[in-house]
Symmetry: C2
Subunit: 403 residues, 2 copies
């Protein structure tokens, strides 16, 4: 990832703005992404049964506007979750005020919030800031960079990614940013992702592309298995690149999907890398399962095992824990067929220890990125999940959050 | 729990022995529980797909002997898991040699192992020790105490419990011991439980009583969601108390079940208390669910949430994490109906923060035993699960196990 976005990374037809409205003690905490007119939009939301007010409102607006959206507004510092009827009223007021400033319908606004749960949102601070925020919109790379900073909470750095591809000979751009130190702190660390493209694409295909991309990236990372009440990823397509419209699942569509998935993957890995207390990213690949679903279930069980994750904190080639986690995943398999590769080294063959040099394995596991392959030798099902190691620092951060 | 068992705690018809055969660097590592003749037996085993050789052999023996068992032999220091055909041969040799010493069929022997995974068991050390071990059997309380020490691995203290009840006017005894620092270290910390009673009871009712008791005790504790490859609980009934035989689901049967469950609960809680790095036991009770199953699913999701467990390490009344874990359990419920009590204090009412004194709540959460109640107000389903807090010490223990 380049350290700073440049003018050519910004998709045509979008502007950005950010300000400090006072929800956080210091720093930017209100961000705006807007298109020049209503554009095609898609979004995915948290599957948690407890859903914050902005999630419920954005879902409603996406439906009412038939997936035509003008702007996304995001505040950090307060999640506006478990806040009752006032919470919903606060999100509605935000959308209403912004729609007046932009001259559009309130239904064309998506609202996102991230921060503490259960504390009433001081929405007046947001409403007071909106007119100036809307006026200061810009298509400069610097405005986008401010946007990436305004959405941060426990994040130690902004996260953004860009891709380009050619549709019928014309270049289109995809730009995205995200916040989250993993899905690891419902009080502060919701995962939010904001994507914009100047490709022209039908609403149905845009939704399908986003769902597919998110499934293999944002939804394939896990820091501690905790899913936030506010998780949201939005994608707006302005159609301003000049490239022909994608209206069928053609080769152009597949090129667009591949570029979108690259952006999503970069952002998802940046979140895992920034996991609280994390020292390294662990890629868990399960192969040879009877189905992709079975492989995914096993990969997630391994990725969420505290024993596996603490072993990685110590760079310990403890394959017994990986095999034991596989065994309790609920997926049937034959243990005596299983091979395990740790950082490229075969440590378990056919369910038994395969002689390996512990010191070499330990050294290889000290890397920033450690791949694990579990091969069940039972079929063609496969899945890949990313997680981070589980350190004493994670416990320190999360044990002392409020008291 | 009394600190030492006494002569009157020992059920009639059983003897115990323990020795240091050399599998551990120091200390007792081989233990024997025997009855005077073949007696009625029941057992429950790990549900992990990866099952150690002694688990597979004990299952086979229980079936072949029609639940008539003479003795249980246990080694610590090596789990004999992922050890291939030699592993099964080692467990078979152990049963065969012990059966010769006791003068019974090998099918009447149950074998248990706990310790490191994937390392061949040096079974000769066990076989060499068996004749002397069998000879040294005693019904003294001191012999039982040695048994409780010989099965320990990462445990910091032995765990035992006893109960008595009257069946038709005659007293029967139930005695049990367990090892495990929770199901938290597949390499070293299998959960094993050994129970003996002098009640007379039919094999079918004995199995049913054990299953019921274990479900609400041993299977209702979780330290980190990791289930070992070797978990086993056995129960032998000698019938030597002189009380009449329990042959139907009568009042006597229910009395027996209650006493058995008390012993199992004491042992299960002792395991949680001894969880690696644990400072306190957390009791999670879910009430008002649509079914017991739904309540259990929610209780386990909360109990295994690293965010909830780290909050308890800091005695932080962070109810938002409890509600968020409830929301991702996969069970449908209405968030705006939920009440949460933390250490007896109502912190969330109808899905929103209920004003409470943070300092008082923090002080109450510093206790050794902290109850949590989540009331969904949707039905009569309920469940209770015990876990411990998640400390930096846990990470230190588990990150540095091998390297």
């Amino acid at each position: 990832m380049k350290s700073h976005p440049s003018r050519t990374d910004i998709p045509r037809g979008f502007t950005f703005a950010a300000t400090a409205c006072g929800l956080k003690k210091t720093g930017l905490d209100l961000a705006l992404l807007a298109s020049n007119g209503a554009v095609t939009a898609a979004a995915v939301f948290t599957t948690n049964r407890v859903q914050a007010a902005p999630v419920r409102l954005s879902r409603e607006h996406l439906q009412k506007s038939h997936h035509k959206i003008r702007s996304v507004i995001v505040n950090s510092g307060n999640a506006n979750c478990c806040t009752g009827p006032q919470g919903i009223a606060a999100s509605r007021a935000t959308a209403a005020d912004l729609s007046r400033s932009l001259g559009c319908s309130p239904d064309e606004i998506l609202v996102c919030s991230t921060g503490v749960i259960g504390v009433p949102l001081r929405v007046k601070k947001i409403l007071r800031a909106i007119p100036q925020l809307a006026q200061s919109r810009s298509s400069d790379a610097a405005a986008f960079e401010e946007f990436t900073r305004a959405i941060m909470t426990t994040d130690t750095r902004p996260k953004w990614a860009a891709a380009k591809c050619s549709i019928g000979g014309t270049q289109i751009r995809i730009l995205g940013c995200a916040k989250g130190s993993g899905m690891i702190e419902p009080n502060m660390a919701t995962m939010l992702g904001f994507l914009a493209t100047d490709a022209a694409i039908s609403p149905v295909l845009l939704s399908r592309a986003l769902r597919g991309g998110v499934a293999r990236t944002f939804n394939a990372i896990t820091v501690d298995g905790d899913t936030s009440t506010n998780d949201t990823v939005t994608l707006l397509a302005s159609g301003k690149s000049g490239a022909k419209k994608i209206t069928s699942a053609s080769g152009d569509y597949r090129k667009f999907c591949a570029a979108l998935e690259n952006v999503c993957r970069s952002l998802a890995l940046a979140i895992v890398e920034d996991g609280e207390g994390s020292q390294r990213v662990i890629e868990i690949e399960v192969r040879g399962a009877v189905s992709d679903l079975a492989a995914d279930k096993i990969a997630r069980t391994i990725a969420n095992s505290p024993l596996v994750k603490t072993a990685f904190a110590g760079a310990d080639p403890n394959w017994g824990r990986i095999l034991a986690a596989t065994g309790r995943s609920g997926v049937p398999f034959e243990p005596s067929n299983v091979d395990i590769l740790l950082a490229g080294i075969c440590v378990c063959r056919r369910g038994r220890e395969h002689p390996f040099n512990e010191r070499v394995a330990h050294r290889k596991m000290l890397a920033k990125y450690v791949p694990v392959v579990v091969n069940l030798r039972a079929g063609r099902g496969a899945a890949r999940v990313w997680t981070c190691d589980f350190t004493a620092e994670y416990v320190r951060i999360n044990a002392s959050y409020r008291t």
